[in-house]
């Protein structure tokens, strides 16, 4: 019989006296953890996926826009040249945008028009990899257009067919649909894509751009490179991907709010179930508590025994729940949840051992809080009534 604290000794003996009950209670406690971990994992995964998609197809790591009073960035060749000289810059792509109207037979759709240089784009974004039908543009394409999937659906047009593009300056031209892409971002999937040189000519905007996106070797360098780029004397507003993807930030804070609500509810649910459990256990141990006090245990001793039992259930529950929760999260990381048959409509979880932290603390707190009232009640039991109980 090892020397150990009397409180811990009695608590352990009592908790483990019926192993089946102990396991069932621990699983019940652990269920809360097991639910919270994959929820957190999915949430982290969704946000991570959103950021990744945003960076991959829309913003890069850094975006340069014209100043407030200007429509375009000027002398793009020179700007791109300066940027490409900086170390750790993986790719630079200038984009020219216009508002156009696309027509196919009777179907008319207003649409953003994006002019880009395919070879630059390939080094900077993954938009060219999002083609679901046909092919992406090449540097020599002038009569070709790639449509976003939403736009293609609205116009009821497929690859190989042609559409008429009316530019903002009234110029009309026909283009051959070379490919259809799907990024998962509504604004890009509603757009049409042309070779930048073609758009420059049509808009008389040579050597100009509406934005420049920059991809870095390491995303962590974004803040640093924002400052560095601003120091190059480029006339434009420089933003990091985080500053650019405000909608993702907003979504994240909404998710955090929902997640916190869920955590509070889980805490309440866990506290109630453990509280009921411990209350029932105390009711079944009244005589034992009376004996304990009769042989000389203080009220505080009794209180600590009950709280320790509560904590033991909490710790075991956390361990079991963490194992279950992490397994589910890992599974969802490797086998993302398909929301529809579209490849981009999946949610995958983001696995990390840190996911265990918050749920574990919450459940442990819940078990302690829940054990408080039953423990206090037990400590106040009248010895004589208790000894004669049952």
């Amino acid at each position: 019989m090892p020397m150990m604290n009397a409180i811990l000794f009695l608590a352990l003996k009592d908790v483990f006296k019926d192993k089946k009950t102990f396991l069932l209670i621990s699983i019940a406690v652990g269920a809360g953890v097991a639910i919270m971990i994959p929820m957190q994992g999915l949430f982290e995964g969704v946000i991570s996926n959103l950021y990744e998609t945003t960076i991959d197809v829309a913003t890069g790591h850094i975006t340069i826009h014209p100043e407030e009073d200007k429509k375009f960035l000027e002398n793009i060749d020179s700007v791109e040249g300066k940027l490409k000289l900086l170390p750790q810059i993986k790719g630079v792509s200038a984009r020219l945008t216009d508002q156009a109207i696309l027509t196919k037979k009777e179907k008319i759709m207003p649409s953003p028009l994006i002019g880009l240089t395919p070879s630059d784009e390939r080094g900077t974004s993954k938009i060219s990899e999002r083609v679901v039908n046909g092919k992406f543009l090449s540097d020599t394409d002038r009569k070709e257009v790639v449509l976003g999937s939403v736009l293609a659906d609205e116009l009821k047009v497929d690859t190989g067919e042609s559409v008429t593009v009316t530019f903002s300056n009234g110029l009309k031209k026909d283009y051959h649909v070379k490919g259809i892409l799907k990024t998962g971002m509504g604004s890009l999937d509603s757009g049409a894509y042309l070779n930048k040189k073609e758009l420059e000519e049509n808009l008389d905007a040579k050597n100009k751009a509406s934005e420049i996106i920059v991809r870095l070797e390491d995303i962590q360098l974004a803040e640093k490179y924002k400052v560095l780029i601003m120091q190059q004397g480029i006339n434009g507003k420089v933003k990091t991907w985080e500053e650019e993807a405000v909608y993702v930030k907003r979504l994240k804070s909404n998710w955090v709010f929902i997640s916190n609500m869920f955590i509070i509810l889980s805490l309440v649910a866990a506290s109630v179930s453990v509280g009921v459990l411990m209350y029932t256990r105390v009711e079944h141990k009244i005589r034992e508590i009376g004996i304990l006090k009769a042989i000389g245990a203080r009220n505080s001793f009794v209180l600590k025994v009950i709280l320790t039992e509560s904590l033991i259930f909490g710790i075991t529950g956390v361990i079991l729940g963490s194992l279950m929760g992490l397994s589910i999260t890992k599974y969802w990381e490797v086998h993302p949840i398909m929301l529809s048959t579209a490849e981009s409509n999946v949610i995958s979880a983001s696995f990390s051992f840190y996911l265990v932290l918050t749920p574990s603390i919450i459940i442990l707190l819940a078990t302690l809080l829940a054990g408080l009232y039953p423990a206090w009640r037990a400590s106040r039991i009248n010895i004589i009534k208790a000894i004669w109980h049952g």
Partner: protein
Amino acid sequence: MVNIIETRDLSKTYLMGKVEVPALRGVNIAVEKGEFVAIMGSSGSGKSTLLNMIGMLDTPTSGKVIIEGVDVSEMDENQRADFRLNKLGFIFQFFNLFMELTALENVAFPILIVKRKDFEERAMRLLDLVGLSDRANHKPAELSGGQQQRVAIARALANEPALLLADEPTANLDTKSSEQIIEMLMELNKSGQTIVMVTHEPELGKRADRIIWLKDGMIKNEF
């Protein structure tokens, strides 16, 4: 001889709804060190109440209880608990062992509370004293009534109490086991242990040095 227990005008009244029920009325007793005293009386005479007062399991309505010269009637809960742990040993009618602990663990537990490092050795010695060292690793459910009561005696002796209090220790035992228990108590008394025992069995009462007879919460006789 030194008095180990004294009660002075000890009274206890219980409130049953709106009715006051006097369980003890002005009881004055004294027990000397090394005495074996039996408290007897019919059901409702107050004998268990008197034992509970002496054992500090309950507090008097008025009067004093003095144990080893200390007035314990004014102590707070923690002081009473500590006093019970270090100075008193209890033997109950229904044994009142912890069912999930072995015989050894039941005896060792009070010693573990006071954090003595030799808790296991001392517990084994006590089990040996009551003739149960071979059943040390058995739980109460695996022991007979008599054996359980012997474990309870060993537990009561765990912290070398000044006073052993036994409440109907043989009421739940057969004749043979009862005899074993009373013999054990008498042996302990011979070695100097002060014992106060509540019993309703005259044959047991006769084995004590002195009988205090209660009726209606008052001492009727002492002999």
